[in-house]
């Protein structure tokens, strides 16, 4: 593994996450018939820089009633875990941070770690809103974790490997979104819930929990949660592309460009979901997860297995 490439990729990922804060506001503006931030630099492209300067020069305050050590560690966990999850994503046939045989499992494990950041951040803040946000995120992520893994079982069975590069190579003929459409739907919703983005952002839920788990956070510690969330969006989009949309594969254009285009399209879809869909009630979210998506993924799992077995029998 080349350390230089790893650093380059992580820097690129962080930069794209920073750019995403600008892109999201511009896209939301576009879809709400307004301009969005367009003052700093051409098209407002320097807005992330301005935000960064602002957030770094803000008072970095730890409330006296907070559990100090956990309070400080929590934002580091979310950013670290999402960055680690990106490590296994192959960008092109020969560009990745690490080529793990258990890449998919590693990704699932790392996205599960992010729940600790949110739950610990909410708990250590010693604030009722934060605690409610943390509890919600724990419940939401555990229930959505279950079928996030199950929804990928079909992909694993079709590709016969956990290695993400080989999964992409297995999609040379047909993208897995076609045979695994329901798996894709379930993974998409689960990814949305994992990155707690707006339709499913119940841990934050501005309107009922002020800011949920990061109510007490300020300065760059809040910024870490923020950047972690956007990195999560990019990583989830990249995983959807890798697992269901053929990764870097595509005609004419170079592989890296194809990967970026596909990932960007899913990032835009994430933003569109935020712009269009209202937040469900908490019990609706839970009921949808356990009563709709879990059976759906199980049926998908069984049917895929049956089809594969029948093919082998012939």
């Amino acid at each position: 593994m080349n350390v230089g490439i790893a650093l380059l990729l992580f820097t690129g990922l962080l930069l794209s996450a920073a750019l995403l804060t600008w892109l999201e506001r511009r896209l939301l503006g576009l879809w709400q018939d307004r301009h969005g931030p367009n003052r700093a630099g051409p098209f407002g492209l320097l807005q992330p820089v301005a935000d960064m300067i602002k957030i770094l020069t803000k008072e970095d305050w730890i409330p006296p009633f907070a559990d100090k050590a956990v309070f400080v560690i929590a934002p580091a966990i979310i950013l670290g875990a999402t960055l680690m999850a990106f490590a296994v994503v192959p960008l092109t046939p020969d560009l990745w941070v690490v080529d793990l045989n258990i890449g998919l499992l590693f990704f699932l494990a790392m996205t599960s770690v992010t729940v600790y950041a949110v739950a610990l951040g909410g708990w250590s803040s010693n604030n009722k809103y934060s605690l409610l946000g943390g509890v919600r995120s724990a419940a939401q992520m555990i229930s959505y974790e279950v079928f996030m893994g199950l929804s990928l079982a079909g992909v694993i069975m079709l590709a016969g490997t956990f290695n993400l590069r080989e999964i992409v190579l297995a999609q040379a003929g047909l993208w897995f979104v076609v045979p695994q459409f329901f798996g894709f739907l379930a993974f998409f919703v689960a990814g949305l819930a994992e990155s707690h983005r707006l339709p499913l952002d119940l841990p934050e839920a501005e309107h009922e929990l002020t800011a949920g788990f990061h109510t007490e956070y300020s300065g760059m510690k809040f910024g870490m949660f923020f950047v972690g969330e956007y990195v999560g969006v990019v990583v989830t989009s990249a995983m959807i592309v890798t697992l269901f949309f053929g990764g870097w594969q595509g005609p004419w254009l170079p592989p890296l460009l194809w990967f970026c285009i596909k990932t960007g399209a899913f990032v835009a879809l994430f933003v569109l979901l935020r712009a269009a869909i209202p937040r469900p009630r908490y019990d609706q979210l839970m009921a949808f997860g356990w009563k709709v998506l879990l059976p759906l993924t199980l049926v998908n799992f069984l049917v895929t297995g049956a089809v594969l077995l029948a093919r082998q029998g012939n």
Binding site: L30, W31, Q32, D33, R34, H35, N38, L272, L273, A275, A276, I277
Partner: protein
């Protein structure tokens, strides 16, 4: 589920709609003539102050931002000795304009009155008075009112009959 997809599509279509907002300092928004903005005191067509210091605007003001005091000139016309509006309190509701019996106080479509110091938001009479009749070009209160002032006696106003002596109104 279908309605969710439908709303997703409808929001996406807004990408091709015209933007409702403008880039403000470079592009000025269109303000209708009756926009309620900065408050001015107008003059009648003869160039005299319209305000008769009746205090109705100060009474109508829900945030009590108008203060004035009455004075009387040599012709018997009333005018405000001072007229003060605290624009850091004003909510631009237009109640003063509706209450005014002489069309003196008017709201105009200008809203760019930001100041760095709060004291500068208090406008005195010389800041408020303009050199024109505002929205009502021909109205002159003393010319239509029955009140006798210097240069105009009872019964000399427009559309006014000369006063009758009630003691001579015998059947």
């Amino acid at each position: 589920m279908l309605s969710q997809l439908q709303s997703l599509w409808q929001v996406f279509r807004h990408a091709f709609h015209r933007r409702q907002t403008v880039n403000y300092p470079e592009q000025q928004p269109y303000l209708p003539p009756r926009t309620r903005g900065r408050i001015v005191l107008t003059r009648d067509p003869d160039g005299e102050e319209r305000c008769v210091a009746c205090n109705l605007c100060a009474v109508a003001c829900p945030v009590d931002c108008i203060a004035l005091d009455k004075a009387e000139d040599e012709n018997g016309r009333w005018y405000p000795d001072f007229f003060r509006i605290n624009f850091s309190r004003c909510i631009y509701c237009g109640m003063c304009e509706e209450a005014c019996p002489t069309y003196a106080i008017q709201l105009i479509p200008d809203f760019e009155m930001a100041e760095y110091r709060r004291a500068e938001m208090v406008y005195e009479k010389e800041d408020l008075l303009i050199n024109g009749p505002g929205k009502y070009h021909d109205y002159n209160f003393y010319r239509v009112a029955g009140l006798a002032v210097g240069g105009k006696d009872k019964g000399e106003a427009e559309d006014e009959a000369p006063p009758t002596d009630p003691r001579r109104l015998m059947p």
